[in-house]
Subunit: 322 residues, 2 copies
């Protein structure tokens, strides 16, 4: 380790200190630090220490409860509910994940609903928590109105991330986590800071016309990935992880915040699957069969998602985080 790198643990300590200094309780600071260090350690810059500033702004604006204690609620259904009590979603997820996993092993499929939370992080740290327990998982949440529906002109949906993971016995899991907009808002922010134009097709200006100017894009609307198909998936996320769970949709979140520069307040939906339970009584081992599929993908030169992240992780674990 040279003087320009930090170990994961050392960075974690610094981030913890920053958040506790800003008034977060240890439980909330630890949960937040975990995902920010994971982002930076995976060289996922748009979700790393870059996000600290936005979190601090959100705390300072009084839009998050700094010492919230997540409240769990469980009944005889396959739904595990965690109320974040106005805190960041991360502590709520950490509290609910083991309960979700336990329920899922009985029911085969189970859902975790996080309500009344402030969200800012990538979903893959949550997905990887569940794949580490041998479960497959899907996660999604609204954001705040910044993406126009396909064929529309005004921001309505959020960048609405959609993530999925499948456990692998050896090495890193199969994980994807992407914005249902062409690009994540953080990527457009990075272009704005760097003063570089956006690729074509990312966004429209306030007048509804295509633009490559990051400022015009941030003032106008981003576009969904994959045209009407991505737009439909983004709408599904508003319905399932906003409307259905009784939490804010992206337009409601923007109205509630009155700003796009603070972390959005809303809920989140996580669906867990127990592959062993689903595959029981059927021919073949699902984990071995998944490996056959992955091998067929990489054999033709295509990449599995998240490989860049995993490579960066191995490097920063060995050599420290630059």
């Amino acid at each position: 380790m040279t003087d320009t790198t930090l170990s994961h643990d050392a960075l974690n300590g610094i981030v913890m200190q920053i958040f506790q200094g800003a008034g977060l309780s240890p439980q909330n600071a630890a949960a937040l630090a975990r995902v920010i260090v994971a982002g930076e350690g995976d060289a996922c810059k748009s979700h790393g220490i870059y996000r600290i500033e936005g979190c601090l702004r959100t705390i300072k604006a009084g839009k998050v409860v700094p010492d919230a204690v997540p409240q769990m609620h469980q009944d005889d259904s396959a739904i595990v509910r965690v109320n974040a009590g106005g805190g960041f979603s991360n502590a709520a997820f950490d509290a609910g994940a083991p309960v979700l996993a336990e329920r899922c092993r009985t029911t085969g499929i189970a859902a975790m609903v996080i309500n009344d939370c402030t969200h800012f992080a990538a979903l893959w740290p949550e997905i990887e928590t569940l794949t580490d327990m041998g479960l497959a998982a899907m996660a999604m949440c609204p954001s705040y109105a910044s993406v126009a529906p396909s064929g529309g002109t005004d921001p309505l949906m959020g960048t609405n991330p959609f993530a999925f993971g499948w456990p692998r016995a050896e090495g890193d899991p199969y994980v994807f986590d992407f914005a249902t907009s062409v690009a994540a808002r953080g990527e457009i922010e990075l272009h704005r800071r760097a003063g570089t134009p956006l690729p074509e097709g990312w966004a429209i200006a306030p007048d509804g016309r295509p633009t490559t100017d990051p400022k015009a894009a941030l003032a106008g609307a981003m576009l969904p990935f994959g045209g009407h198909k991505g737009s439909a998936i983004s709408t599904m996320i508003e319905l399932l992880a906003g409307v259905m769970i009784g939490d804010l949709t992206s337009p409601e979140a923007r109205d509630a915040l009155g700003s796009l520069t603070l972390a959005p307040a809303h809920g989140e939906l996580i669906i867990a699957f127990d592959p062993e339970k689903f595959a029981a009584g059927r021919p073949g081992d699902p984990f071995a069969r998944a490996e056959t599929l992955f091998a067929a993908i990489t054999a033709q030169g295509a990449r599995l998602p998240s490989q860049r992240r995993f490579k960066a992780r191995a490097e920063t674990r060995a050599k420290g985080i630059p």
Copy 2:
């Protein structure tokens, strides 16, 4: 009704007769006729009577059990299993749907697994069966290897349809159902028959290069929608609705069939959500809030998915199917 149109019922009778003539049991013929008439009645030509020929080919090739009786299996989990016994998936879905709905009202989220079936139909008739019962639902299945993963060169994944629906108290439900390839295989077939070139970006030729020739595309590989994001969703479908449920993946289905001109044999995964159960105890009526979202989409000139189908349905119900 003129002599060039048929009512839904009249067409249904004809299709029933064709399938029973080909040896299908009444239960299987009725389930198949229902979705084919629905496709034709919605002017969804690629899933209408055009598909009869392929079904007959599949029956004649001995690749489907014509008098299969679906077998249900339920335990204390949230998974409802229906074994199609080698028959078409449609009778299995019809048998399992009410059981899935009942289970979902208790558990909030539940899954239906259809195994050992031959699949050929669109997923939206199944989704609409569940939205008609007041549930939200997601459905997916592999197909047979015809789509290259993003960055790859050879067919591996199927066109892997992904469908979702949300119930609406008045009028037609919110429903989308699309191939995770840029285009459905049926659309490329229609271009081949019409002798028209494909739009750019749909497919690659056997040498891995982009092509607009439908024949080269059918011999080469189709491309996933939305680049690496669509490719990741398609892979998720192979994992959840192939590997996890202990049924064939798309490459396995093609190997098992030895052909792309017969309907593929595999399984299907349907996930049902009870919005009332999820929203219980939370502020707001989820159905009313969903309407607010839909109104905001259409108010800016964007369309909800399936509107063309619903318009055609209203017309063919009033005036008959051309």
